[in-house]
């Protein structure tokens, strides 16, 4: 079959083994492509919205607020102000005469009603064009109401999601350094780049607690404004999800001298290594921390491995395709699939950097397709070409997989099971198993076609073999 790739996109697709590694990325999407990417606003919104006791006001026409109303299951253990949708709902006359008055009024009304700890005001495309002075309005309201009111410069057209992450980081950076840090333990850290989907940050916090570490601020899953204000008091920033909060870690390093390390909580290897690397940072201050960490990992693995075995047995040899937002997650997924005995034949992301793709190149097998900023036509062609058993992606990828008769796992914001931590690996294995081994695929045309082809070639005197293989 032929795989349709825009000729301009040829250098954004790499097949390992065919030529020396070279990959173009961090490039604007081609106009006219059915890109899976989103905008700056989207990036800012997903990073900041889990801060549950802040007010999140979208300054723009209604769509931007509607489409981001509680779509990402970022759980809160307390307040849930972030689950409401607030919008200035700009109308034509606001676009003509400016939306500043409306924004001021909306902010005042909301702050009076909810008494939030802080307010984030998201700028949208239109606000960038009509030139509302968000900074001035926010400053005025902050003075009048006595809470931080922070503009988020997230005009949609100013780049892709990655630029939105940066805007979110700059917004949060304004909060940091404003809280009291006097009673923070020297054995302390901030968790960056975890959004508490399906309660994941609670798993991670629990590990750190068992290691004897204090978590100062969740950035941003189950996040609280007051915690973020004192985040500069932590001894270490632990950064997951390379794109979203790395900029904040860098800013905090520069301003407050707080070191950071990159971690991943997905998969056994990366999870354990993440805990060890955090422990190493604190070894000077607490010589026992490494022992405690080893004990923790041992305990978790003893519990996990026997349970993984049965999934691994069934899944060995199955093929997986990965297309996710940030490439960092893809590294862990490649390893996690390997642990399950599976082979990754396609891996790609919306916003990976060259460095990311080089790392993917290093850790994947020969023949693996590596792709940046893909589109449905390409993806579906690759899935068919590689005859995959499972596709890992987000909301827009799911129905494509299903239509083709391929299993699917949402590793994006629609995941319903915690996939982080050791327990997350088990959940992941169960989810992969439940879709890859589902009997439903036996009845869909793709498998039936395959079955009939096989039946024609295999000996009719060995029906048992044909029947077995048709279940694959």
């Amino acid at each position: 079959m032929t795989t349709s790739i825009f000729s301009e996109r040829k250098d954004q697709v790499h097949r390992k083994g065919e030529q020396p590694f070279q990959m173009a990325c961090d490039r604007e999407s081609l106009a006219g492509a059915v890109s899976q990417r989103a905008c700056v606003f989207c990036g800012s919104r997903v990073v900041l919205y889990p801060i549950a006791d802040a007010l999140h006001l979208v300054h723009g026409p209604i769509g931007c607020a509607s489409y981001t109303w509680d779509i990402r299951g970022a759980l809160s253990s307390g307040p849930a102000l972030h689950r409401l949708s607030f919008s200035t709902d700009l109308q034509e006359k606001d676009v003509i005469f400016g939306g500043e008055a409306k924004l001021y009024q909306a902010l005042v009304e909301l702050i009076d009603r909810y008494e939030p700890k802080a307010a984030f005001v998201y700028s949208t495309c239109i606000v960038g064009i009509i030139g509302d002075d968000l900074e001035a309005v926010c400053k005025r309201v902050a003075e009048e109401k006595g809470i931080p009111v922070i503009p988020v410069q997230s005009e949609g057209f100013k780049g892709n999601k990655r630029a939105g992450y940066n805007a979110a980081c700059r917004a949060m950076f304004r909060l940091i350094g404003t809280g009291d840090i006097s009673n923070i333990s020297p054995l302390s850290l901030n968790i960056l780049g975890d959004f508490n989907l399906a309660g994941e940050i609670w798993i991670i916090r629990n590990y750190f607690e068992r290691m004897g570490l204090e978590t100062v601020a969740n950035i941003t899953g189950d996040g609280r404004v007051d915690d973020i204000r004192r985040a500069h008091g932590a001894a270490l920033n632990v950064v997951q999800c390379s794109g979203s909060t790395m900029d904040l870690a860098k800013m905090m390093k520069e301003e407050y001298g707080i070191p950071f390390i990159r971690v991943s909580y997905f998969g056994v290897e990366d999870m354990a290594e993440s805990l060890y690397s955090v422990a190493r940072v604190f070894e000077d201050k607490d010589p026992e921390i490494m022992n405690r960490t080893r004990a923790l990992v041992k305990e978790e693995l003893q519990e996990l491995y026997p349970q993984l075995a049965k999934y691994r047995e069934s899944l060995t040899g199955k093929k997986a395709a990965i297309y996710v937002g940030g490439a960092f997650k893809a590294f862990s997924l490649v390893k996690a699939f390997r642990l399950l005995g599976m082979q990754v034949v396609l891996v790609g992301s919306q916003t990976g950097t060259e460095e990311d793709y080089r790392e993917l190149y290093e850790i994947t097998d020969e023949g693996t397709i590596i792709v940046d900023d893909s589109n449905p036509l390409e993806l579906s062609a690759f899935l068919q070409e590689k005859d995959v058993d499972i596709f890992v992606g987000g909301v827009k990828e799911r129905p494509i997989a299903y239509k083709l008769g391929v299993g699917f796992c949402d590793h994006n914001h629609e995941r319903k099971e915690a996939l982080e931590g050791f327990i997350g690996m088990l959940n992941f294995a169960r989810e992969v198993y439940s879709t890859v081994m589902s009997p439903v695929w036996r009845f869909v045309p793709r498998r039936e076609l395959k079955k009939s082809r096989r039946a024609a070639t295999e000996s009719k005197f060995e029906p048992g073999i044909a029947a077995c293989s048709s279940q694959a």
């Binding site: 081609l30 059915v34 989103a38 949708s85 700009l90 008055a101 949208t124 949609g156 498998r447």
Partner: protein, 458 residues
């Protein structure tokens, strides 16, 4: 309490929408465009808009939703999006090969003032539009109207760009189905077919957004109104438009452009509105209503009579789009239920008047708001509780907090299936709606009845 932040006291809000009962124009335009066969909707704006619309439509229909974007950058926002759109048109026809590109604008491209027809002409002059292929457009600034307006606009664009009259009438009728589910469009076509009426339906998303598992990924599924069919609408005998807001503009445009007379009706939800639709079809086409359809009506009436004591006085709160709400309210009132809080996010001139008229016999105060939001609806419910909610998935917050059963109806439904396969329009759709309403209310009755009055037979 997810919405614990919703206070009971209602204060006037001037600058603020909380928990909207609407979304923006472009998604409606995108949905309508998917109802043209072999059409790729195109969002002329930032990438995010297109991604959001595709994600929302995907969550609702559980189908791949294809659309391209001009991928605006800072440069395009300063110098205009002409270069992006011309390049997009070229790329789309080269790689994806649709018959039609249906462009809708966004607040961004509207505000910088891009002139789509001019850009399309430029693309054509440069040979970027292959012979026999089309670029159509609608202006959908997000700061005007709502998703319903966008749907209406794109539907009208189909008339503006395609409808032609060569003076020779064809033995067919146009049906503009409104902003309804693919299953509803299918049902309307079925009713017309049962009556022996030849129809052209546009837009028609059936078998585009409710298609079968085929083992293949078709970028352009077999459903949708073909260009040829759209062109022929100018020679149809008449147009029947369902839903004034969503379909009225296209029907009137067709009348003006090609002198095809039109009847603009309410969406056929419930027996009264369906009767009007069937009767109009009967009169316009000069045919008799076949027995099989009368029997369907009879079955619906049978359910109504069998269960009527359970309807009486059931207080209902509704949120949704004007066309749906008018017919739904009429249906509920006709079976003795009391719709008492009704909210739409869409501004509709005669909406409140129509609702007042329909509910004037309801012996209870009726609150109507156009435009209103779900926050206001929730506040009304706190002040004057109801027994049932009918609306989209976002109503589930209210349902949970106030412990009120919810029947999912409208757009979007992000957490249940069925709506794209089973209609709520027509007599059969009415039966399904009643089944859902009765299931929800009677399940609640079973759950809440004390043991001594828990009944086996209901």
């Amino acid at each position: 309490m997810l919405l614990r932040h919703t206070p009971k006291e209602i204060k006037q809000r001037k600058a603020l929408t909380i928990n909207p009962a609407k979304t923006c124009q472009p998604i409606g335009a995108m949905y309508a465009a998917l109802g043209i066969h072999s059409c790729l909707p195109h969002s002329h704006g930032s990438q995010g808009c297109c991604a959001y619309h595709r994600s929302t439509l995907t969550r609702h229909y559980k189908e791949p939703v294809m659309a391209a974007t001009s991928s605006f950058t800072e440069g395009a926002s300063v110098f205009g999006g002409q270069a992006n759109l011309v390049q997009a048109i070229d790329n789309i026809f080269t790689i994806y090969e649709p018959e039609v590109i249906a462009v809708h604008t966004t607040c961004l491209s509207e505000t910088i003032g891009d002139d789509i027809p001019q850009i399309a002409r430029k693309a054509e002059a440069e040979g970027k539009i292959p012979r026999g292929k089309y670029v159509i457009h609608v202006n959908t600034p997000s700061y005007v109207g709502t998703h319903v307006t966008g749907f209406s606009g794109m539907t009208k664009a189909m008339v503006d760009y395609f409808s032609k009259s060569n003076g020779k009438k064809l033995d067919q009728f146009n049906i503009i189905p409104g902003y309804v589910e693919p299953s509803d469009m299918e049902e309307i076509k079925r009713i017309a077919e049962v009556m022996g009426v030849r129809t052209v339906m546009f837009p028609d998303t059936s078998r585009v957004l409710n298609r079968p598992q085929t083992g293949k990924y078709d970028m352009f599924p077999k459903g949708g109104a073909t260009v040829q069919a759209l062109m022929s609408t100018g020679d149809s005998l008449a147009t029947i438009a369902l839903g004034r807001m969503a379909s009225g503009a296209a029907a009137r445009a067709l009348d003006t452009k090609c002198k095809v007379p039109c009847e603009i009706l309410d969406l056929p939800i419930g027996f009264k509105a369906t009767d009007r639709f069937v009767d109009t079809l009967r009169k316009t086409a000069g045919i008799n209503v076949p027995d099989s359809l009368s029997e369907e009506r009879g079955q619906l009436m049978d359910i109504v009579t069998d269960m009527h004591q359970y309807f009486y006085g059931t207080k209902v709160a509704l949120a949704g789009d004007p066309d749906q709400l008018i017919s739904l309210t009429e249906f509920l009132v006709s079976i003795d239920m009391w719709p008492i809080h009704i909210v739409t996010g869409t501004v509709s001139k005669d909406f409140a008047t129509r609702i007042r008229e329909i509910t004037k016999g309801v012996p209870h105060q009726v609150n109507v708001s156009t435009p209103g939001d779900m926050f206001l609806l929730h506040q009304w419910i706190k002040n004057d509780p109801v027994d049932l909610l009918i609306g989209n998935t976002y109503m589930k917050y209210i349902a949970r907090d106030e412990d009120i059963p919810l029947v999912r109806f409208g757009f979007p439904i992000l957490d249940r299936i069925g709506h794209s396969y089973f209609p709520t329009l027509g007599y059969r759709g009415g039966m399904r709606l009643l089944e859902k309403i009765l299931d929800a209310t009677l399940d609640r009755k079973d759950r809440d009845s004390p043991e001594e009055s828990f009944e086996l037979v209901m």
